[in-house]
Amino acid sequence: MLTPESLKKIDREIAKYPVDQKRSAIMAALAIAQDEQGWLSSEAIESVANYLGMAPVAAYEVASFYNMYNLKPLGKYKLSVCTNLPCMLSGGVDAGEYLKKKLGIGYNETTPDGLITLKEGECMGACGDAPVMIVNNRRMCSWMQPEQIDQLLAELK
C-alpha cells in the first residue's frame, strides 16, 4: 500500500520515539501517506495502523481528529483561508469571499475542473500576515490582497 520511500520516511519518524512507542509516529505517518496519495483512504489508514502496530480504529480516531488530514479526495490544491477574528479584522473573511467569487464555489467545494478545493481554516499562527492562506497544508501565503490572490490562482495549475 505505502511506497518504499514513504516507509523509509515513516521509519525515520519512528526512530524519534522510544522503541515501545512506535505509535507516536502516527501523525507523521498519516501526513506522509497523505502526501503520497493526496488524501487518506481507509486502506491507507489501515496500512499505517498495521505498520505501527495499532488498532485501525485508533488510527482512524487520529486521522479524523486533526483538521489537516483529508478523509475524502479533494481537488489538486487544497486552499485553506484563515477567517478567524484577527485575520477577519484584516480582510481574512473578505479574502475568502473574493476567492469564492473568483472560483465560483463555496467552502468545502471543489472547482469543476478538480483543481482547487476551498476550505475555511482556523488560526494558522500567522495573524500578523493577514489575510493568510495555506496551499496543501504546506505552503503558507501571507498578505493575500486581491492582487496576490490572483497571482496565486494563476500559479496553481
Binding site: 507516536s24 477574528l85 494558522m124 495573524c127
Partner: protein
C-alpha cells in the same frame, strides 16, 4: 525581518541578517555560551533552577506560571526516563510569536531546552510544532541537525557526560493540542484529548514519565537569563513580571507584527510602535492576551501597562501576549460569533459541558448575528457559560466562555440592539472598510 520593533531587546537582538537562524550566527551572538558554561562549571541543577526562579520568568504560553517554580516540581532524582517538552503549538488566535522565534532564533529554543533538561535531569525532549507552519517545522529540524553536528545535542554534550536528545513533532491542525496534556497525548500518537489533572505532568507526563512542558518563548528566554543573571533579567521587566516579552499585535493597527518590550511597558507605547490605529481610527476594544482572554474596552486598555498584573487588574489576562486590536468599525457581535465558532470547532469533544456547551453558545450567537436573536438570549448565554466554566477537564471550556461573558458585559447595548433590530449597529460597509481588504477591482 518579522520582529518589527523592540525596546531593550534580548530574544530579538541581532536577528537582522537573513542567516540569523543558522547556528554560526547564533553562536556569534553569544549563543550556546550559557549551556557551555553550565556544563563546563558542572553547575548544580538546583542553582540553575534558582537562577530561573530569581528571574521571575513567567510562562509565556498563556497561564503565566513561574517557570522556576515549575521546574522545581520535577522529581529530579527519579531514576527512570524524564522529558522536557516544548509547546510550539501556538494556535491561540492572535498569537504568532513562537513562529518567529523558531524562524529566526531556533537555537535559543534548543539551548534553552538543553539547559532545562540539564537542570531537571531529563535526557530527551520533544518540540511540538503547530501543523500549519510547515516551513518552521522543517527549519527547526535543520537547526536540530546543526546542533547535533556541533555537539550541542546528543550524548556527552561538550564532553560533560550529560546526554540530551531533542526531536521535533509536528501537529496537524488541532488547537487543543496547545493544552499541555492534550499535547502529550498527541505525541503519544493519540487524539489530542486533555487529561484530567491531577496527576500533573511533573509526576505523570509523556509516556507516564515525569515531564516538564514550557512554551517556546519561555525556553528561548532561558539562555538570556543564564547569561545575564536572574536578577538583571527580572529588572528588565518589573517586579513579579521578569524580563521582556514578545507581543503579537494583530487587527486594526498600521503595522501588525511582533514586538519585544519589557513587561510593564504602557499599552500606548506598544500601540505606537505598531504604527498606531489603522487609518487613524478610534480604538474600540482590545483583547490583550489571545482570543481566550476577556475583551477590554478602549479606555481601560489605554490605562494598562503590558504585564501580567496590570492586565489582570483590568479584568483580563496577558495570556500569550497576543494583542488583538479592534477599532470603531468592528461589530462586536460578529467578532464574538467568529470566536465562538472557533471554540466550538476546536472542542476536543471529550467532556460534556464543552462538547455540548460550545456548540450551543455558537448557535445562539450565530442566531443573534443573523437577526434571529430572542429577548432572553443574553440571559441564556450567561447561564450556559456559567454551566461550562470550571466544570470541564481543561481550560478550553473557560476559554470559550470568557469571550462571551466579557463581550456581553462590555458591549451589552450592541448585542441588545442586534436582537431588537435584527441588524448590526455598525453598518456592514463600515466593517469592510476597516478590514483593509482592497476589492476595488472586483
Amino acid at each position: 525581518m518579522a520582529i518589527l520593533g523592540a525596546i531593550n531587546p534580548m530574544l530579538s537582538l541581532g536577528l537582522d541578517g537573513d542567516k540569523a537562524w543558522r547556528l554560526a550566527d547564533y553562536v556569534k551572538r553569544g549563543g550556546y555560551s550559557a549551556l557551555r558554561r553550565i556544563l563546563e562549571e558542572k553547575q548544580p541543577q538546583g542553582s540553575v533552577i534558582n537562577e530561573v526562579k530569581k528571574s521571575v520568568l513567567r510562562g509565556r504560553g498563556g497561564a503565566g506560571f513561574p517557570t522556576g517554580l515549575k521546574w522545581s516540581f520535577m522529581p529530579r532524582s527519579f531514576p527512570g526516563d524524564k522529558y522536557v517538552v516544548c509547546n510550539s503549538d501556538e494556535g491561540e488566535p492572535g498569537t504568532f510569536k513562537d513562529r518567529d522565534i523558531l524562524r529566526y532564533n531556533p537555537h535559543s529554543v534548543i539551548e534553552g531546552m538543553a539547559i532545562a533538561a540539564y537542570a531537571m535531569g531529563a535526557a530527551c525532549g520533544y518540540n511540538y510544532i503547530h501543523g500549519e507552519v510547515w516551513e518552521i517545522y522543517e527549519r527547526f529540524e535543520e537547526a536540530l541537525d546543526e546542533a547535533r553536528a556541533a555537539g550541542f545535542l546528543g550524548s556527552d554534550l561538550l564532553g560533560s557526560g550529560f546526554n540530551f536528545e531533542l526531536f521535533a513533532h509536528h501537529g496537524y491542525g488541532a488547537y487543543i493540542c496547545g493544552e499541555e496534556t492534550a499535547l502529550l497525548e498527541s505525541i503519544e500518537g493519540k487524539k489530542g484529548q486533555p487529561r484530567f489533572k491531577p496527576p500533573f505532568p511533573a509526576s505523570f507526563g509523556l509516556y507516564g514519565k515525569p515531564t516538564t512542558i514550557n512554551n517556546t518563548e519561555t525556553f528561548a528566554s532561558i539562555p538570556y537569563i543564564i547569561n545575564l543573571g536572574g536578577e538583571t533579567y527580572l529588572e528588565a521587566g518589573k517586579a513579579n513580571n521578569g524580563g521582556t516579552k514578545l507581543f503579537s499585535i494583530s487587527g486594526h493597527v498600521e503595522r501588525p507584527g511582533n514586538y519585544e518590550i519589557p513587561l510593564g511597558t504602557p499599552f500606548a507605547t506598544l500601540l505606537e510602535m505598531a504604527g498606531g490605529m489603522r487609518g487613524g481610527r478610534q480604538l474600540k476594544a482590545c483583547i490583550p492576551g489571545g482570543s481566550s482572554a476577556p475583551v477590554v474596552p478602549a479606555e481601560a486598555m489605554m490605562a494598562c501597562t503590558m504585564d501580567y498584573d496590570s492586565i489582570s487588574k483590568a479584568g483580563s489576562m496577558l495570556g500569550s501576549g497576543a494583542v488583538i486590536v479592534m477599532d470603531e468599525t468592528t461589530c462586536m457581535v460578529r467578532a464574538l460569533e467568529r470566536l465562538s465558532f472557533f471554540y466550538y470547532e476546536e472542542s476536543c469533544g471529550q467532556c460534556t459541558p464543552c462538547r455540548e456547551g460550545t456548540g450551543w453558545l455558537y448557535q445562539v450567537v450565530h442566531r443573534i448575528e443573523n437577526g434571529q436573536g430572542r429577548a432572553d438570549d443574553l440571559e441564556l448565554l450567561a447561564c450556559v457559560t456559567t454551566n461550562i466554566m470550571g466544570r470541564t477537564i481543561c481550560a478550553l471550556g473557560d476559554a470559550a466562555s470568557m469571550p462571551v461573558q466579557s463581550f456581553i458585559k462590555h458591549f451589552h447595548d450592541e448585542f441588545a440592539y442586534h436582537i431588537e433590530h435584527k441588524k448590526c449597529l455598525v453598518p456592514v460597509d463600515v466593517q469592510r472598510a476597516g478590514s483593509g481588504f482592497f476589492t476595488a477591482r472586483v
